[in-house]
Amino acid sequence: MKLVRWILGLIILMAFFIANFFVYDGAIYAKLINVYLFSCLFVLYRVLAGPSAADRLVAVDIFGILIIGMLSIIGLAYQNDFFMDIGLIWALLSFVASLAFAKILEGRSLDD
């Protein structure tokens, strides 16, 4: 059962990378953005199926750091720099939110 799951995941990863880098005919930045969107699917799987609350908290914290790299590549593709503003504000809000949720998870109130 474990071997079947491993081989299924390997087939999915190989199919995605071959289809992205060899079959899909687009610009180089579009291919990198596709890799990022595939990674965001994995993060959303961990948010939905995490066994405990800390798993979901880790996934949301990682998502905020992941999105700043993706938005900088989108800004390179469109030659615009206001995407970086969106990324910086998103990372800042994600940082503050993960601090607050960690404090709630620890069992203390916010003014402790």
């Binding site: 700043i68 790299g69 900088s72 720099d81 970086m84 910086l88 990372a91």
Partner: protein, 111 residues
């Protein structure tokens, strides 16, 4: 020409690190293992991508925003990871079944 090559190489390396970090987030068995893999790899990957963007763009507003992003990530990400690990250990989330030792639970002063 050489500047574009170095920038694209940095962006590719950063994307590979980000993808491997997210793969570790899905694959590893425990909260603490997932936190370690995801935080280290994703921080280094995003910092590499922002460094590549700075090399590609040079000293204009886009490049300075990328430098600001690197400084913010290197300050914010370890703090968030430390706080999450401490909260997870204090709220008694179980470790992976194959764990050998747990030094933080044995230390009486830190608790």
């Amino acid at each position: 020409m050489i500047r574009e090559t170095i920038g694209l190489i940095l962006i590719f390396v950063g994307t590979a690190f980000d993808f491997l970090g997210v793969l570790g987030l899905v694959r590893l068995p425990d909260v603490y293992n997932r936190l370690q893999a995801a935080t280290k790899c994703v921080t280094f990957g995003s910092a590499g991508i922002l460094c590549g963007v700075f090399i590609l763009q040079g000293f204009n507003t886009f490049g300075f925003k990328a430098l600001l992003g690197i400084a913010f990530i290197f300050m914010a990400s370890p703090v968030a990871a430390h706080v999450i690990a401490r909260a997870a250990h204090r709220s008694k989330i179980a470790l992976a079944p194959g764990t050998k030792t747990d030094q933080y639970a044995e230390d009486k002063e830190l608790r």
